[in-house]
Symmetry: C2
C-alpha cells in the first residue's frame, strides 16, 4: 500500500546482487508496467509524470528506460528548456498546458514546472510573495488536472551530499556541455547543500498532496533507482485504475494540516470593486445580479454616431499604445442568444488594427479539445504580449450551457468556478487585463430577434432548433448566469453587465469600457 499522506522515501522491495540479477528482475516485471500503462491508455486517463532531483546524469537514463519499458507511442517526453519567446510572452503555466498530455497518454516531464521556481529562488532571488504565487499556481493547476481524472505523480531523484559531489566531479570531466544544463544541481552560486535541501523540503510541503503526491527515490545506485521507479509506477497505475471509476469529489487537505486555499470557491477577493462604471457590484448577494440591469436604456442614433467617431480613433491609438507597453487584453463576450455579441464584436474590431486582435468563436469542442481539460483550448488561445484575444463565448460555457444541458456533471461545473478564477488570476499576474461582458436582453426582445432571423436569409443559419429549446429553459439559464456572475466577479476580472435591449446603447457601453481599460493599460496605471 502506498502512503500518500506525505512525501515518502520509497524503495523497491526487490533485492538483487549484480547486474545480471537486476536484468532478470527487469525482464520479469516490465510486462506488469506495460500492461498497466495500456490499461491506463484504454481508460483514457492522462498521466503527468514529473521527474526532478539532484542527479543530473540520472535523468536521461530514466527517460530511455521508461520509453523502453512502456509503449512509447503514448509517451511524450518534455525536458525542461529555456522559454521560447512565444512562451515567455504568456503566463508561466502556458508552456505546460501546451505540453499537457491528451487523455490516455503520458506526459513525462523532466524538471517541468518546478525548475523555474527553484531557479528564481536561488539563482536570481525573487521575493517571498513571488514564490508564494508560484506555489499557489502549481497547487491549483495540479489539482485541477487531478480532479479532471489525471494521474499526477512527482518523483524526486535524491542524492545525499557526498554522492552528489562525486557525481558532478565525474560529469564535469567527461561532459563539458553539461554546464549548460539548467537542472536542480546546476544551481550556481554559493548555496550550501543544506540551503538547497531546505528549499526542496519547503517545495515538498507546499505542493505535496495525496492526489498530487511527491515520492523520493534514492538515486545513488542507478539499478536500484530504476527498479524503484518501475515498481512505484506499476503500483501507482494499478492504484489509479482501481479508484478511477468511482472517483469521489476530492477532499483537499494539505500534508501539514493547514488548509491550502483561502476558501472553497477561491474567490476571497470577489466583492472588491475596481471599476466604478458599469461593472457589476454585489450588494450582499440579496438581489440576483441580472435583476440589476436596467433594460430601458437606449441611445439615439445621433449620439451613437458622435460617440462612435471619437471611440473609433481613440481605440485605434490606445490599442497600439497598450501594445507598445506590452499590456495584453482578454475580452470575453457572453450573453443570451441573439443578444448582439457578434455585432458588438464587429464594432470593436473595426476600431482596431487587424494585427493586434484575434477573435475566437467558441463552438462545440473538437475531438482533440475533448481529449484535454476543458480549459486547455482557451489557454492555448490567450494573447501574446501586447495583443488582444476576443472570445465570442468562452470558458464560461462550462457553468452555463454545460451545466444546464447536463454536458458537465455537478461536481465538474461546481468546481469550475474556482478553476476559472484561478485561470483569470494567472492571466492577470502576467500583465493581461480581462474584460468580461454579459449582454442581457428581455425574453420578449429575444423572441422578436428570433422571428426577424427566421425571415432574414443570411441570419437564418444562426437560428437553430437548439435556440428554441434554450428558450424553454430560460429559468435554468437565468439561475446559472446569476451564479456565474456572483462566483466569478473577482477584483481582477469583474463582470460588466450590459443592457443590450437597445443595440446602440450596448455597443457604446462595450466600446467605452474597452477604451477605458486600454487607456489605463496605455498609461501604465492599470
Amino acid at each position: 500500500m502506498i502512503d500518500f499522506t506525505k512525501p515518502v522515501r520509497v524503495a523497491t522491495k526487490a533485492t538483487f546482487s549484480g547486474r545480471s540479477q537486476y536484468e532478470s528482475i527487469v525482464k520479469r516485471d516490465r510486462t506488469d508496467l506495460l500492461i498497466r500503462q495500456l490499461q491506463i491508455h484504454e481508460q483514457k486517463s492522462p498521466v503527468y509524470l514529473l521527474i526532478s532531483g539532484s542527479q543530473t546524469s540520472g535523468y536521461a537514463r530514466i527517460i530511455n528506460h521508461l520509453n523502453e519499458w512502456m509503449d512509447a507511442r503514448f509517451i511524450q517526453t518534455h525536458v525542461h528548456q529555456p522559454d521560447t519567446d512565444e512562451e515567455h510572452q504568456r503566463p508561466f503555466f502556458w508552456k505546460y498546458w501546451r505540453q499537457s498530455p491528451p487523455k490516455g497518454e503520458i506526459g513525462l516531464f523532466l524538471g517541468g514546472w518546478y525548475t523555474d521556481p527553484y531557479l528564481d529562488r536561488l539563482i536570481e532571488p525573487r521575493d517571498e510573495e513571488h514564490f508564494q504565487h508560484q506555489m499557489q499556481e502549481i497547487r491549483e493547476t495540479e489539482r485541477l488536472w487531478a480532479e479532471d481524472g489525471a494521474l499526477v505523480v512527482k518523483i524526486w531523484l535524491h542524492l545525499d551530499q557526498d554522492d552528489k559531489r562525486r557525481n558532478k566531479q565525474g560529469k564535469r570531466n567527461n561532459r563539458p556541455h553539461d554546464t549548460w544544463q539548467v537542472t536542480m544541481d546546476d544551481w550556481r552560486g554559493d548555496h550550501s547543500y543544506e540551503e538547497k535541501m531546505a528549499l526542496v523540503h519547503r517545495v515538498f510541503s507546499e505542493t505535496h498532496h495525496p492526489d498530487t503526491p511527491w515520492f523520493i527515490v534514492d538515486a545513488s545506485d542507478s539499478m536500484l533507482c530504476n527498479l524503484t521507479v518501475m515498481h512505484l509506477l506499476t503500483d501507482l497505475f494499478e492504484y489509479h485504475l482501481q479508484k478511477k471509476p468511482a472517483r469521489p469529489s476530492l477532499q483537499r487537505v494539505r500534508v501539514d494540516g493547514k488548509a491550502p486555499h483561502a476558501d472553497e470557491a477561491g474567490t476571497m477577493q470577489r466583492h472588491k470593486k475596481i471599476d466604478p462604471g458599469n461593472s457589476f457590484e454585489t450588494d450582499g448577494a440579496s438581489t440576483p445580479p441580472l435583476n440589476t440591469i436596467d433594460l430601458s436604456k437606449s441611445l439615439s442614433r445621433s449620439r451613437y454616431e458622435e460617440k462612435m467617431k471619437h471611440l473609433w480613433e481613440s481605440l485605434y491609438l490606445k490599442s497600439w499604445e497598450s501594445y507598445d507597453r506590452g499590456q495584453s487584453l482578454v475580452i470575453v463576450f457572453e450573453g443570451s442568444d441573439a443578444a448582439g455579441k457578434g455585432g458588438a464584436i464587429r464594432r470593436l474590431t473595426r476600431c482596431m488594427d487587424a494585427r493586434l486582435y484575434r477573435v475566437i468563436q467558441t463552438a462545440a469542442p473538437t475531438a482533440l479539445e475533448h481529449a484535454h481539460h476543458y480549459l486547455w483550448r482557451f489557454w492555448m488561445q490567450i494573447p501574446q504580449q501586447g495583443k488582444i484575444t476576443i472570445y465570442d463565448r468562452s470558458w464560461y460555457g462550462r457553468v452555463l450551457v454545460e451545466r444546464v444541458e447536463g454536458f458537465a456533471d455537478p461536481a465538474e461545473w461546481q468546481r469550475a468556478y474556482r478553476e476559472i478564477n484561478e485561470f483569470e488570476r494567472q492571466l492577470c499576474r502576467s500583465n493581461t487585463r480581462i474584460l468580461k461582458f454579459w449582454l442581457q436582453i428581455s425574453p420578449e426582445e429575444q423572441l422578436k430577434r428570433f422571428r426577424k432571423r427566421e425571415k432574414t436569409p443570411y441570419k437564418e443559419f444562426k437560428l437553430t432548433d437548439e435556440d428554441w429549446r434554450n428558450r424553454e429553459k430560460l429559468d435554468h439559464y437565468e439561475a446559472a448566469v446569476n451564479d456565474m456572475i456572483r462566483k466569478t466577479n473577482t477584483d481582477v476580472a469583474p463582470w460588466h453587465l450590459i443592457s443590450a435591449e437597445n443595440k446602440r446603447h450596448a455597443r457604446i457601453q462595450v466600446l467605452e469600457t474597452v477604451e477605458k481599460a486600454l487607456t489605463e493599460l496605455a498609461s501604465g496605471c492599470a
Copy 2:
C-alpha cells in the same frame, strides 16, 4: 465564367450609385456567399484565401466584411506578423503550415507567404537565386494544397499610383502606428511605383496557376471593391463545389507557357552521390535497391562494444557542437516490421542529451491530423534550430503502408514522391540535415523475430494481426520500398540502406552514419 488562365482584373457586374444602393445589393447577395461557404464546410474542403495588395487601409475592412458576411466560426484570420523565434528557427513555410486551415474551414491570410518575398527583394535585397527558391517553394506548396482538394485563391487589391499616394497621405496624418506595418505599400526605400509593380507582375507570372490563381481587384473605390470580392468568392466557391467530386489529376501548365517544374517527379538531382559510405547509389535503375543490401554482414560483440564506447562519447559532443552552430538534424527510420527500428533509436538517444532530441512515434493519424494535408503533422514536428527530431516511421507511410493497403488512392501516393522531395528540400534549405534509414531484414529473420515476440510478454503487444497480414503482402511492400528509394533518393536527402539481419551491425551502421553527419555539421563543412 471565371478566366483562370492568367491573373485577371475582375470587377463585379453589379452597378449602384451611392451607399444605400450598395447596401441593398450586399443585403441581397450575402446570403449566396454564406450558403456556398456552408456547403464548402460540409464538403470538407479547406480554403486558402490570401489577400495582398497595395492598399493598406483597405484590408482591415475586408477582414471585417468577410467575417460578417460568412459564418465566422469557420474562418481563421491570419494577418502577416513578424516571425516569432519559434517560426524564425524553422523553414519559411512552417509558419504557414502552422496556420493552415483544417478541412471545411477558411484560412484568411492578409499578406501571408507573399510578404517576405516582396520585402526580401526590395527592402533588404537578396539575390535572384534566393528569390527563385522562394517562388518555387510557393508554387510547390500551393500546388500540393490544391491537389489535396483545397481551394487556393489569391486576391490582389490594386491601387494605381495616384490613388496610392493619396491614401498614404491620409493615413499618415491620422494613424501614426501604421508606419509599423509591414505590408506591400510600406516598402521603404526609394523604389518607384513602376519598380514595385514590375516586381508584383513578376510574382504573378511566377505563382499564378489555374489551380492557384491570382485575381486583381480595383481597390480605389471601397464599395466597389467589397462587392467585387463578395461576388468573386461566391463564384469561386460555386466553381469549387461543382468540380470537387470528380477532381482530375491536375495538369500543371504555367501561364506564360513554360513548364514550371524541372520534371514531374521533382527529383532532377536525385542520382548525385553525397555520401560514399553506406548511402544508396542507383546504378541506372536496373537492380532493385533492396537487392543491393548484403544481409550477411554481422559484427562481433567485442567489436560492437569497442565501437559503441567511442560513438557514445563522440555523438554526445558532436550533437552539442552541432547545436551550437545552429545546425538541425532530422533522422527518419523506416524498415520492415521487427527490423529493429526501436532498438536502434534507443541506442542513438542514449548517446545524446535529452534536451537536444525528440522522438516522434508515427502512428495512425488523429482526427485533427486527418483534417489536414498528410504532411501537416510532420511539418509541425520538425526541429527548432540546432535540435534533432527522430521519426520512428514517417511521411514515407504515404508511399508504403498507405499505398499497399489502399488508404491513399493512386493519384495521392504517386504525387507524394514529389511532395516529399520538396518537403525535404525546404528543410535542407533551412540548415536542416536529413538522414533516412531503411532497415532491411530477410523474411526468415522476420518470422524468427515474430515468433520470439509471441513468447516475450513485454514484446507481445508489439505484434498484431496486422503484422501477420503484412507478411502476406511482402511482394507488394518490396515493390513499394524499391519505388520509394528510387524516387526519393535525392542528393540533399539520400537513403541509407542498412542490413539489419544482425542487430549489432545495424546499430553501429546507424550510429556511425549519424556521427559522420554530426561531425560535418559541427565543423561547418556540411
